[in-house]
């Protein structure tokens, strides 16, 4: 049975696309058949994050408008045989698709017997958001421990509930353990207390993510990346395993040690 998961956040720049890429790739690494759908029409980025930007022929709009068959717009990943990407159109805008068309697309993907479909939702609460959630079975909300991002996450959770996608799960991204320890960054507990949702995972702030984005390789395939490890844990939780949350305290950077030395 296909499970369609929409990755959303409200606020832009908190890591939706990076999360979508890592969840999609991670699930495929577990042997699942996965389709990643870039629903950010007009501002596609998922293709670049997974390094498939040079292989695009057809896109999501071509499929919903009937210019090509579904399979023609599904690009096979370089690394995983069971991972596919459907890119967004770059020349159209969000009004070029309707929620009804997205629902139809999702149903067509169910018939292709994918295990998981990951939909990368655009930022905002307008048409693009409504399109992205139309065919989803459940939602993952990505936020960072900042006032603006958590506030937007709360709005999005309210809108998901109102649209039949109750109890979304939260991924808290870019946690900086030293700042949390110092009392200068909200912890997982603080954020979950405010938003009152279940936590699917916590992802530490990791320089590897920048390097991965430069190369077009999701961090989840990098065994040395703490964020990659966090995504691998999240993937296992999605599949149904019980995995404890990462101990972020252990990893203290060089600068953290220096600051400690000065008692700051």
């Amino acid at each position: 049975m296909t499970e369609i998961i929409v990755v959303t956040s409200g606020k832009g720049g908190v890591g939706k696309t990076t999360t979508s890429a890592n969840l999609g790739t991670g699930l495929a690494m577990q042997g699942k058949k996965v389709a990643m759908i870039d629903a950010d029409i007009g501002l596609r980025n998922l293709d670049v994050i997974v390094g498939l930007e040079n292989r695009i022929v057809y896109d999501l709009i071509d499929v919903v408008e009937g210019h090509c068959r579904l399979k023609q717009a599904l690009i096979k990943d370089k690394r995983c045989d069971t991972l596919f990407l459907m890119p967004a159109a770059q020349t159209k805008d969000k009004d070029a698709v309707t929620p009804e068309q997205m629902l139809k697309l999702c149903n067509a993907l169910r018939e292709e017997e994918f295990d998981y479909v990951i939909i990368d939702c655009p930022a905002g609460i307008e048409q693009g958001f409504r399109n992205a959630i139309a065919g989803a079975d459940r939602a993952v909300v990505v936020t960072t421990p900042e006032v603006s991002a958590v506030r937007d996450a709360d709005r999005i959770i309210g809108m998901l509930n109102a649209n039949g996608l109750g109890s979304p799960k939260l991924i808290l991204n870019r946690i900086r353990p030293q700042l949390v320890k110092k009392g200068d960054m909200m912890s997982v507990e603080d954020v979950s207390e405010i938003l009152a949702v279940d936590i699917l995972g916590i992802v530490p702030d990791d320089e590897n993510i920048v390097v991965c984005a430069n190369k077009g390789e999701p961090a989840v395939i990098n065994s040395n990346s703490p964020a990659g490890q966090a995504y691998r844990n999240i993937v296992k939780r999605i599949i149904g395993y019980e995995v404890p949350f990462m101990d972020l305290e252990k990893k203290e950077g060089f600068m953290g040690k220096i600051k400690k030395l000065f008692g700051a």
Binding site: V147, V150, R151, D184, D190
Partner: protein
Amino acid sequence: MLFNFLDFIRKNSGESKQVAKDRLKMVIMNDRVNMQLIEDIKYDIIGVIKNYMEIDEDNFQISIRQSSNNAAGTKMPVLFADFPIKKIYKN
């Protein structure tokens, strides 16, 4: 000079998380509460108070504000109701 610098670092670290939490609670509370909800609460409160006293319904005001620190030292959003009392009924 160096000591001043260290003081600066110390003073600017360690407490901002609580400020963030307090601000978030307030802002989310306001985001969640729409005007209709405020009107509904107002209507219900008037209904209860009417049993005990006569109030100036036109100047009845209700709002959500940030409270000062409570016993635990944290700030909480608080529902304020201001209603001018015209007359208190005797039993």
